[in-house]
């Protein structure tokens, strides 16, 4: 059903236009004086000298989480590649030398020119192996190929750049036989029973 919105009727004073113009000018001069007298009220950042504080939930360039032994946490399950709406993730899997882990990525490429930074890959990953919290939001390269990040580049980060108090943003626990994973879980939110339960199933 059509909804009829009555056109606003201008009063005589408004039709005169001049009064409204003066009202508008009073408003703008208020802003001008405020900007000069109280510069702290201007909602402007002196970028790039002053960097914005990104919320923890922001999405920027990806990184692949590392285990303590330096291997990638990714188990090449293709979940992210499947979830990606832009189809910009290309994974080639190979067999992992770790007996508990089936696969690992031989190559892991993300084409940042295609990526829409939706974060679905992060959501999809069952192992928390891929994250988008690097804070690097500006991508500048001089060739198209340079925008395709390979596995080495995605894993080229240092735990020192991430908040130490947020333990899961640091190096991922895990690795050969998951010793750190078990230790971390024991100290964390899981009960001893849980840990024993997953001790031989945990594969990430």
């Amino acid at each position: 059903m059509a909804k009829i919105i009555p056109r606003p009727q201008l009063s005589l004073l408004e039709q005169l236009y001049f009064v409204e113009v003066f009202k508008g000018m009073a408003l703008t001069i208020k802003h001008a004086v405020r900007s000069l007298a109280k510069p702290e009220t201007i909602p402007v950042l002196n970028y790039p000298e002053v960097q914005p504080e990104l919320p923890a939930e922001h999405r920027s360039e990806h990184r692949l989480m590392k285990r303590a032994d330096g291997t990638s946490r990714c188990v090449a399950c293709y979940m992210c590649q499947t979830a990606c709406p832009a189809r910009c993730i290309t994974i080639v899997a190979e067999e992992s030398p770790d007996g508990d882990i089936e696969k690992r990525p031989a190559t892991f490429d993300i084409d940042w020119l295609l990526c829409v930074f939706c974060g679905l890959c992060v959501e999809a990953c069952p192992c928390d192996a891929i994250r988008m919290d690097t804070g690097k939001a500006i991508l500048v390269e001089d060739s198209r190929d340079a925008f395709i990040a390979n596995k080495d580049r995605l894993m080229d980060w240092s735990p020192a750049d991430y908040p130490a108090e947020d333990i899961i943003s640091q190096e991922a626990p895990g690795g050969l036989l998951n010793e750190q994973a078990l230790a971390a879980m024991q100290g964390g939110m899981f009960s001893a029973g849980d840990v024993a339960d997953v001790a031989d199933k945990e594969t990430c």
Binding site: V21, L27, I29, H31, S35, P43, V44, E49
Partner: protein
Amino acid sequence: MEIILFIAKFGLAFIPLSCIAIMIFLERKGASIIQDRVGPNRAAIKIPGIGSVRGFGMIHNISDSVKLFFKEDFLPKHAHKWYYILAPMLPLMTAILTPALIPWFAPISLEGVEVSGAIINANSGLLMLFALGALSVYGVVIGSWASHNKYSLLGGMRASAMMISYEVSMGLSVVGLLLLIGSFNMTDIVEWQAANAWGVVVQPVGCLLFIVSMFAETGRTPFCVSEGESEIVGGFHTEYSSIRFALFFMGEYAHIVIASALIATLFFGGYHLPGLNTEVIHAHTAGVLAGLLAVKALMLALFCLMTTRQKKLYGALKASDKAVRLKEYSLFQIIFGGGALVAVLIAAVLMFIPMDGLLSELLTAAIQISIVMAKTMFFCWVFVWVRWTVPRFRYDHIMALGWKVMLNVALVNLVITAIVYKLLIETGVISG
């Protein structure tokens, strides 16, 4: 004496030119402060010993002009070469000529030589001003025609149609004032206002109409139909680049300065301030000068305060260039604060210098020039202020406003003025 006078008069031509630099700065910073932004402040020059100085965005003027000078001067193949080159010169040329007709100070006598405040103290002063102002539309029209480009032509057509329409109401809006004054001579007009009342008091409607027509004449928002990025690209200057493009804009800004000076002279008393007519200034030159310097010192102190606040603000931020910026802010604190002190000192010293004869004459003229300039700068700011307040009109609205409203109001205003004036004379309230 003659030669010194000649050089001094020649210097008046540079008033609009030097105001252009101020106007560009005013426009950009005015836009930014009205829109709650910081505005341009990235261009900087390195001064040895101090570091990089941004000067609140002043440096952008230099970098812009250098950029425009050294850009490729592009001449399209299809353009009419001669007119294409001629067009950008016209607006600036007329704008540089017009200050010759504006009275910058009351007539003074220097060692027996009578010097009028306007270089050309013609009896047809106002008519010549309007004629010169109307010439600037030729720059737009010729430029758009010579560009041989449909967008340019459309822009030029719209601009010329609008300017010609508003010229009618502009002329009619001052007729009421001229009726009262009875002279086209600009000095007479100011003197009449000094003796009776400012034009804005006796002719408020005429003043409003005149200011609005001036907005249209200069082609400024809300009447900026000659250019429109969304409809006709750049309008008349679509094909222009490099310094020719800059000339068009210098012409526009110079035109604003002239329009402001004209508004100030016709309706806001020119070099006259209430209570400060020529005799008073002449008799108390030192006192008035000290007063002006005190105002200046106050403004500098305010600037100093502003800089201090910004410095404090920046000091609290986590910025990578903090040391450099804080140094610059300190520099400006010293400049503004020191300037305020110097102004106060000069004002104090002035009290003890005897002022008479030639010195007093010259200083009176200087004070009056600064009064006119202050009023002019205020109206320049009004132009900027309105630009960032009022959205632009549609083309047909502009035409309807010009012909159906402004013209009629101006005519009615003229008739009422005439009747009231006649009645007042008849009843003996004022003498004719």
